[in-house]
């Protein structure tokens, strides 16, 4: 369980995290989403006691990280920026960290095996690919067999197989009743992994909700219907809250009715249906809509830039 209350971090004039409050519960994978520069990494660093909050607080299992007497047994972490000495082997890296808690060499071998680094464990970590580095980071996080794991962009640099492996690993950890908190700037990845998401933009909380809920809110609730008798069906579906549009002769776009209702209506009239698909906005679209105003670094189109710049130039008048 991770609890943030009014968590704030300021660097000079810049507010990186602005009054964040949220709770990460055990048993599900909780995604931490936001565009680049939204304050995800800073928040995670505060959870892990690396950065001191300017205001507010964050606790893990009811205690501040710095107060934990056996932190590796409480929280396992993978940070986005690498946290490994490049000249040391993966094995010695893990052994040094294990030593702080009296964790056995057997456990070190176990996690190396678990993440599939056995063949390269004695090689310099500096020579690792991004994906191998991520695996070593995950091994570090799991070293103390912690009930809570905090992972910053764990799938970064992994190949498709690695991504799937991480996804399954995270779901497995959550299924064991652990608290799993994973950041990402990819909504699509979170949609496959997380059940719950906390969305931030410019350091502020935008949403704290289930993935299902986001999809439901984002979707336009349209149903795509394909039928050889489209015209007949269209007439039958008409109603006060129902709109039906059509782009092709045998295709209908229906809003205001569920797929079930449409299907039942069609069956009642003995109309054949060739397709009946609820249209959902992709999570990516939902995410873009949600964070549109909070993106730190926009890519501007030439036209947009000209529009916004023009009044500013006039205003300067010097």
């Amino acid at each position: 369980m991770i609890e943030a209350r009014g968590l704030t971090k300021q660097y000079g004039d810049k507010v990186a995290v602005d009054g964040l409050s949220f709770t990460v519960r055990p048993g599900v994978v909780t995604g931490f989403l936001g565009p680049n520069g939204a304050g995800k990494s800073t928040t995670m660093r505060m959870i892990l006691g690396l950065d001191r909050p300017s205001a507010g607080s964050v606790t893990v299992n009811g205690r501040h990280y710095a107060e934990l007497s056996a932190p590796l047994h409480e929280v396992g972490a993978l940070l986005e920026a690498r946290a490994v000495h490049t000249s040391r082997s993966a094995y010695n890296h893990l052994r040094a960290l294990a030593a702080t808690h009296g964790i056995s060499r057997r456990r070190v071998d176990e996690v190396i095996d678990l993440v599939g680094l056995t063949d390269v464990a004695r090689k310099r970590a500096g020579g690792f690919s991004l994906g191998m580095g991520q695996r070593l980071g995950i091994a570090t996080a799991l070293l103390g067999d912690p009930p809570t794991v905090v992972l910053d962009e764990p799938v970064n640099g992994l190949d498709p197989e690695g991504i799937r492996w991480v996804r399954d690993l995270l779901k497995g950890l959550a299924a064991e009743g652990r608290t799993v908190f994973v950041s990402s700037h990819l909504m699509s990845e979170m949609a496959l992994t997380a059940e719950h998401v906390i969305v931030v933009g410019r350091g502020r909380l935008i949403a704290d909700t289930s993935v299902e809920e986001i999809i439901r809110e984002a979707s336009v609730n349209a149903v795509l219907v394909r039928s050889p008798d489209a015209a007949q069906l269209r007439a039958a579906l008409a109603g006060p809250d129902v709109t039906v549009s059509s782009t092709e002769a045998d295709v209908l776009q229906v809003t205001g009715l569920s797929a079930a209702q449409i299907g039942d209506t069609a069956r009642g009239l003995d109309i054949a249906l060739h397709e009946l698909t609820p249209q959902r906005a992709s999570l990516e679209e939902a995410f873009m809509t949600m964070t549109r105003d909070d993106v730190e670094y926009h890519g501007h189109l030439a036209g947009e830039a000209a529009d916004t710049d023009a009044p500013a130039l006039e205003g300067q008048g010097a």
Partner: protein, 270 residues
């Protein structure tokens, strides 16, 4: 996954202790090749240079000017390698800390020991301890070989202050090691840390000579390398502090650096 699930309940939960933090620092120190190379360099410096200088002193004895012969001390000759060894020890002391900052390892270290101070203490104890043991042996070897090579101009450990000077080599280098670790935690950057350390150890005494003459006695004896020189020398420069007051001043520099480093380590974001 089954590996994890199966081991969840039976894993003993062990807490972080200062001893464990120190053990971790020991593993970190010996698992880097640069540690071995630099320690080896310091051993070679103390023994090799001591023997080499002793050899040339003996072979060129007839060319020595009278005032040179007057300043000659066989103990000091055989221990002259300390000047080079302090470079190796100083660089490694800074690197032990700043290497973690430049690679990001420090985040892993502080996440596993979030009280932070045991990390500093562990590094200081492990590195200073290794330095002392290694340099103690090297100093004795350098002395004994050096006296052999000096032949008739050599002396023995029974000579006045000889034993103290030999033991002074590891003492001085150990305090330099601590000073370097402290500076590493303050500066957190390899180039800056090394520049700061050797600015104080090697450059400051030279710059101090440029001070007004009346100021010099109030500054020069208190610079770390000047203050510490007495402990590994039989002949001390006039105008410098006595052996043990000087050593105390050197220790004060190291303690100050470690205290400031500890304060900043607790306070700053990692």
């Amino acid at each position: 996954m089954s590996t994890l699930a199966a081991t969840t309940s039976r894993r003993p939960q062990q807490r972080v202790t200062s001893l464990r933090a120190a053990k971790s620092e020991w593993i970190k120190l010996v698992s880097l090749r640069s540690s071995w190379i630099t320690f080896a360099a310091s051993v070679v410096a103390v023994i090799g240079l001591g023997v080499l200088i002793s050899y040339f002193t003996n072979s060129h004895w007839s060319e020595m000017r009278p005032e040179e012969r007057l300043r000659f001390d066989p103990v000091d000759r055989s221990l002259a390698g300390i000047n080079l060894a302090q470079l190796a020890i100083g660089v490694l002391g800074v690197l032990v800390v700043t290497g973690e900052y430049s690679t990001g390892m420090i985040r892993s270290s502080l996440m596993s020991v979030p009280r932070r101070l045991p990390v500093l203490a562990g590094k200081a104890v492990v590195f200073a301890g290794s330095t002392f043991v290694l340099m103690l042996g090297s100093a004795f070897v350098a002395f004994l070989l050096g006296q052999q090579v000096l032949g008739t101009h050599g002396t023995t450990l029974d000579a006045p202050h000889a034993l103290r000077a030999v033991i002074g080599v590891p003492l001085y280098l150990t305090v330099v090691a601590l000073f370097a670790v402290g500076i590493g935690f303050i500066v957190r950057n390899t180039a800056g840390g090394i520049a700061t350390l050797f600015g104080l150890l090697l450059v400051a005494p030279g710059l101090g000579q440029l001070l007004p003459t009346s100021w010099q006695p109030h500054v020069l004896p208190y610079l770390p390398s000047n203050a510490g020189a007495g402990v590994y020398s039989v002949r001390t420069d006039p105008g410098m502090l006595s052996t043990w007051s000087g050593f105390a001043v050197l220790c004060a520099w190291a303690v100050a650096a470690l205290l400031v480093g500890a304060f900043l380590l607790r306070r700053r974001d990692a």
